[in-house]
Symmetry: C2
Subunit: 159 residues, 2 copies
């Protein structure tokens, strides 16, 4: 659970970081920034801010924004609807992000990218200045994600 | 046909415009910028610069860069391999781009986006300051594109 204030602060932070990365947002974009605490109630440590540009039944594109040191907990994208599950490419835009993919560690600086195969365990954590990361992928179905930590809930309660 | 100098100038221009849009490139990215004149030998009027980030058998992401007033000629992405053809979302990052989609005109400023259905005729032209446009899509198979102008050739001869 996060408070309304945490949500508002995180949205404002994400909008600022996207602007720092040169990414222009509309007012509608700013209002659509999702704040996810993964049900762990420690947003600054475990969580993520997301802006989905498009998510069709064929492809998806998002911006991900992380607080300094914030981590998106380990998970995988399982097969669904006869597809092998979500395949995704992370391209770092600002700051630094460290991916852990099947136990391997990959550090991405701005301009560097890495593609994670479907149904493969991964997590990622921002460096000391936070991170802005573009995600290009096949269709996104966040509600199907399988997390290693059984306490994770993909939906975030705000109240 | 374009000269080596036209190619080099266009790559340098594209790298500068991407930097102006806040997009960080690696040296490998800069070397991979494609310059397309569509076989019309009037690059500044009819053409496009492209940087492909990723193109898997499921999704694709590119940056498109246009000279001031430069147009990508009308074409469509036909069905292939049992798919309905490429579906693509254009998001303007810098400058201004005018899309023509099935006769309809859509002007995109930075932060604005539009999704073009598969197999639908479209062209696009940059405004007076040029344009940087992110393209998110299903798999890209440029060689299958069907152009309205029979003189168009998708491959560009440099010499």
């Amino acid at each position: 659970m996060i408070t309304r204030e945490e949500q508002r602060d995180a949205q404002a932070y994400a909008a600022e970081q996207l602007a720092a990365a040169g990414i222009v947002l509309t007012d509608a974009d700013r209002g659509a920034i999702e704040v996810a605490d993964f049900g762990l109630s420690r947003l600054r440590e475990q969580g993520l801010m997301l802006l989905v540009y498009v998510n069709t039944d064929r492809y998806c594109a998002k911006e991900l924004v992380l607080y300094p040191g914030q981590e998106c907990p380990e998970h995988r994208h399982p097969p669904f609807d006869g597809t092998p599950g979500k395949e995704e490419t992370f391209r770092c835009r600002w700051g630094l992000v460290t991916l852990r993919v099947d136990g391997r560690e990959i550090v991405l600086h701005p301009g560097e990218q890495f593609t994670i195969p479907p149904d493969t365990l991964h997590s990622f954590r921002a460096g000391p200045d936070g991170a802005v990361v573009s995600e290009f992928s096949s269709t996104s179905r966040d509600e199907l994600d399988v997390f290693t930590d059984p306490n994770v809930r993909r939906g975030t309660v705000v109240g």
